[in-house]
Every structure is written in C-alpha cells, then in structure tokens.
Amino acid sequence: MHEALLIARREYVERIRSRAFRISTVLIPLAFAFIFGIGALSGKLAGGPKHIVVASNDAVLAESERAELMGVGKGARLSVDVRAPITEPELATLNADVESKRLDAYLWLEVRPRQLEATYTSRGSADFLGKDRMQDSIGHALVREELMKRGATSEEIKDLLTDVELKTLKVSNGKAVTADASKGFLGAYLMTFMLYFAVVFYGVNVAHSVVSEKTSRVFEVLLASVRPESLMLGKLLGVGAVGLTQIAVWILFILLLSSSALWTTLGLGGLAAYGITPLRLIFFVLYFLLGFFFYSSLSTGLGATVSQESEVQQFSMLIVLPQVIGLMLTVYILSNPAAWPVVLLSLFPPCTPIVMCLRMAAMPVPAWQLALSLVLMVLSIYGMALVASRIYRVGILMYGKRPTLPEMLRWLRYS
C-alpha cells in the first residue's frame, strides 16, 4: 500500500504541475460556457443596430407593424422606418438599398381585398427575429388595425394582445414548485457533459500513461521493486485524484461565480434554478469517481496490451461508446426519466454515470435505485480491476505484436 501511495503521489504531483492540467482546467469550462453561451447570445450579438423598413400600401397597417416590431425586437437595437403608401419605383429602390447595405432588410406588406401578402427581404437567409415572431407581429398588427377600425381604445387593444405566459411547475418532494424547464435542464446538460468529458478524458489519459511507461521501459525498473498490482492501483488513485481536483476547482468556480455581484446583476437566479443542487453535486462527484475507476481499470488493462501510443485510439471507442449512448438518448431520458428501459440503462454500470445524472435532473430518482446503481458500479469496478490487473501484469512486459483475444484470455490464467 505504501508503494501504491508513492506511485499515486508521483502521478498526482507531476500531473498537477503540468501545463496540460492548468490549460484543461481553464479551457474545458470556457469551452462549455462558449458553447452554451453562443446559443443564448447569438440573437443579441447578431451585429450592430439593425435598420429595417416596413413598406406597405396601407399606411395604418405599416405604422401598427412598426410598433409591433419595436416591441418584439427590444433587445436587438432596432430602428424601423415606415414607407407607406409606397409607389412601385420606390419599392424597387429598396432592393438596391438592401444590397448596398444602407438597409438591413425590408418588410413589404401588400394589402389586397380580403388578403394580405407579406414579403421579408434581407441579404442573408438568417434572420434576427425568427420567422415565427415575425409572423406573430404581422398578425398582431392586423388585429390591432382591425380593432382600431372598430373603435377600441389603445388600452383595450394592449390588454387584448398581451401574450400568455406559460408557467411550468414540477412536483418535487410532494410539492409543486416553479420550474423553468429549459433553465433546469441547462444545469443537467452542463453537468452531464462535464461528467462525460472528465471520465473519457481521464480514462483515455490513463491508457496513454500506461503505454508511455511501457515504451519508455520504466516498468522494468519499477517492477524490480513494486508489485504490478500496486503500480496499477497507484496510477488509478493518482490520476483519479487529479480528476477530482480539477472537478473541485470547477465546482468552486461555479459556486463563487454564482454568489458574485456580476451574477446577481445579470439576474441569473440561484444555482437551484439551473438544477444544480448540493445532492446532485455530490452524486456528480460520486459518479465521476465510479465512472473513472470503471473506465480507467479497463483502459489500464487495454493500454498494457499495446506498444505504441497511437494504438490507444483503437480501443478508446470502448470507453466513449457506452457513454455516448447515454448522451444520444438525452432528450428521451429527460422526458421519460422513469420509463423502464431508462431505469435499466441507468443501472447498467457502463452507462450509469451519464444516464443517472440526466435522470436526476428530470425527476427525484428513488433512493433504492441510486443505492443499487452505486452497489452495481462498485461490484463491476472490482470485477473489471481483477481482470484488468491480470492482463496488465503480463501485458506491460510484452512488446511487439498486439495480442489476440485468445492470448489475452490465456494471460488471465497465468499465475
């Protein structure tokens, strides 16, 4: 055990000191923030002030649409001009204006008897408002015009046209609590992806480090004083501790950020609103550790069978695939967290961390299922380590040709 701890400490210290650790600690959350942020911000960042023209043969409708657009496009720094009524030649110049970038887009509303034809012309097909909202705004403008013709006051019109806001509630511990569905899943997505990345990253990392010790022949020296089992245990503990440190840094960062003034100013709400609760954080760490030990045992065993780093890729699929299955089913799992295939999948050790993490975001998972998943994972880690250590012990001294499966099975029986 003393030897294993020495090995673990070396592994830990060398890795924590490395530039790769510092970079990945900063870069991975940044990458996630970037990916999630880009979707949220793309609307707001779609360029500078937008200048569009509403053209119509009906001046009242055009004015009404302008008001609508100004209301809808609040965040988009919009300036809207009205050209109505408009002549054919004037309409033709608008195309030229759009092309020469004097104008970003124009909306042409042609009122015919009992029919309205709307055309939106811009330079790109992409749009800053979205087709749905544009259509809504035109619908509203029509209704507004109609109501005004029938003598409604502007107050009445405003009340009538108020959008209905759908409130979503979810039952948690027997109480209905407000839940912003999209926000609540955001935290779940984030945690699940982080979990996936951390487990895959460190799992594959262990394989690389086994292979590099093999190619640099450090094993020969180490084996003359240390048992192969201690070597393997030390490596797993060391690398696992590095992963845990990294996750701790991330969690700490999120906690600090969420209690910072900036967060409050932006009005982003408490962490719980994002589905990040202490219980889930605890299970996040637990599932990282279990997932890591499961996959890294596998990867030490497999890493010992190859002689070159490039060969690691051939089996990294085995580490990635079971977890990707969980990720691909994300939407299904989030909407059917209690369906029996999902429950079974969440209890199947290779998929447990990812699937359970998603289920926990979507529902309060029964305690017995959580407990069972932990027990099953611990048992399967034990089994995996047993098999892997036997392959490892023989494999680290074998060079050259990659062993076949029957050969590896024979290794299991070596004393």
């Binding site: 640099s216 450090v218 020969e220 020296v221 004083s225 048992r227």
Partner: protein, 301 residues
C-alpha cells in the same frame, strides 16, 4: 556466508520457445560475475527471474541464502537493458522517487542522489528534465537509480552498451569500487573483452543453456596457450615454420595459431634469425575465442 544469488535448475519458456534451460548459477559476495552470450542467449530472461519480474517454470531462485521473496529485493539493485526513466520528470525528483520506492526516506534519497550526481559529474543537470539530457547522462542517472539504496546485489543488464569510452571507464571503475566494498555484482554483456577485463567469474550462455562457467582463471587455464603474437620488422619467411597451424598477418604484426604440441621457442629462434623482433608473446586464448570455440563445438554436437 551463503551465496548472494543461487539458481537451481531453473527453466523458463515463453509460449513454445525455451528461453532458459536448466540453469545453475551461484554468486558469492564480493564477486564480479559476468553473464555472457550472444543476443538471444537467455541472459535477460535469467536476470528477470532473479529480480522477480518473471517466475521460473521450474527450478528455484534463492537470494541471500533464502528462497526468493519480494522482501529480498530491497537489497537488490537492477539496471534493465532498456533504460527506463520518466522522461518528463526532473532528474532529482526522479532519483528521490525511485529511492523512496526502494524504501528510503525522501531526505536520505535526496542526500545520496546529490552525492552520486557529484561523483558521476552530472550535478549540473540535476534540475533538468530527464528528456533534455544526452543518452550517456540518462544512463548515468539510471545507474544511480540502481545504486541509491546501497544494494548488496547489483544486477546490470548490458550496463555499458552505448556509452562513450570515458563514461564507460567511469562506470567500470565505480563497479570495481563497489565490488571491493563487498557487493556482489552481476552484469550481462555480449562484449567479451569487457568481461575479460572486469569479471572474476563468468557464465557463458548459448541458446538458453550455460555452456561454460567458473572462475575466469580456471576457465582460461582449461585452454592452452597456443597463440603467438609477434611485432617485427624485416623478412617474414619464418611464417612457413613447421610449428605454425595458421596466421593472420598485418603490417609489422602477425597473430599465429600454433600446431598441437608445437615448440614456440623454436619459432622464436627462427623468427629472430630473419627479422628484428619487437615483441614475441605467447598468449592465452581470449574469452571471445574460447566462446567461439565452445559454441562452435556445441553447434557441431
């Protein structure tokens, strides 16, 4: 005193191929022992069994008079054939880590590492990363790793391979000093001239078997002095002398193999009559010749 290493009828096979067959071997304290043989003779396989990396299929390995136990490895220093160091680690960190694995405290390991680095003239490089060092320097570090815990038994697989003459001599002298202080040293080599210079005892391996072994003097005395080396100037007519079985001639220098029971003194007289003799030496066969002769016999048999 019990022997430091004893192999008793040890055999090891990998898959179908026998790597070591029925090997017997004893090394006493204060002995420099050479394990000789061409590549693939079974030297490394034998050594790996002595340090517990592999386990013999049959036969027994004893260290310090007791059956092999991992506990004994605390007193063994092993330098593998392929050098194994952590490339990214700083030299001093690496030395201390390896020392700790051998049961030293960080403090003792650090102190001894510095002393050794000084002795082998690499103290300047101690704070560098290992991968930044030259091959020869890395070899010295590996050497220190082997010796840091002051082992009673030092096992080195091809320790001088790839070293320049200056460093090879430095390491050879270090080994001789260690031997004088009572350590048992076993090293393998396929360089017979090195073994000849350094070893007290040898074991010659060929195809997994020991074909020749014992104290160097005894081994050599089993072979007659039937070779003559002459440095001369003048006529070389004496090379047709009846005592000569064969020769290789170089400018001013000739190496002669004598016939069975031939009289070397008669050859000297004949040579003296025809040429100016600077050197006339009746030499015993070199280890290399003994090896070729022995293995040749085996191959024929």
């Amino acid at each position: 005193m019990p022997p430091v290493v004893e192999l008793d009828h040890v055999s090891k096979a990998y898959e179908q191929k026998a790597a070591v067959r029925d090997l017997n071997l004893r090394i006493e304290p204060g002995t420099m022992f050479g394990l000789l043989g061409p590549n693939g003779a079974g030297k490394t396989s034998s050594i790996r069994m002595m340090v517990g990396i592999t386990i013999p299929d049959s036969g027994a390995v004893s260290l310090f008079g007791r059956p092999f136990a991992r506990e004994s490895l605390k007193k063994v220093g092993y330098l593998p054939e392929e050098r194994g160091l952590y490339r990214k680690m700083k030299v001093m960190d690496q030395l201390v880590f390896m020392g700790q694995l051998h049961g030293l405290t960080a403090e003792v390991a650090g102190k001894r590492s510095r002393a050794w680095c000084e002795r082998l003239k690499i103290l300047d490089a101690a704070q560098n990363k290992t991968e930044e060092l030259s091959k020869g320097m890395q070899q010295k570090i590996q050497f220190i790793v082997t010796l840091l815990h002051e082992p009673e038994l030092i096992i080195m697989d091809e320790p001088f391979a790839g070293l320049d003459p200056v460093n090879a001599t430095l390491l050879q002298e270090t080994l001789v000093d260690l031997k004088k202080s009572g350590r048992a040293i076993l090293f393998s080599t396929h360089r017979m001239d090195q073994a000849e210079k350094l070893c007290d005892e040898i074991c010659l391996m060929h195809r997994g078997e020991a074909v020749l072994g014992g104290r160097m003097r005894e081994v050599k005395s089993r072979y007659k002095r039937n070779r003559v080396v002459i440095d001369f100037e003048g006529e070389d007519g004496f090379l047709s002398h009846e005592a000569i079985a064969g020769y290789r001639q170089y400018p001013g220098h000739v190496e002669i193999t004598l016939k069975e029971h031939a009289d070397a003194q008669a050859l000297l007289r004949a040579a003296e009559g025809q040429a100016r003799i600077y050197r006339f030496e009746l030499v015993e066969p070199s280890l290399e010749e003994i090896f070729i002769q022995t293995v040749g016999e085996k191959v024929d048999a």
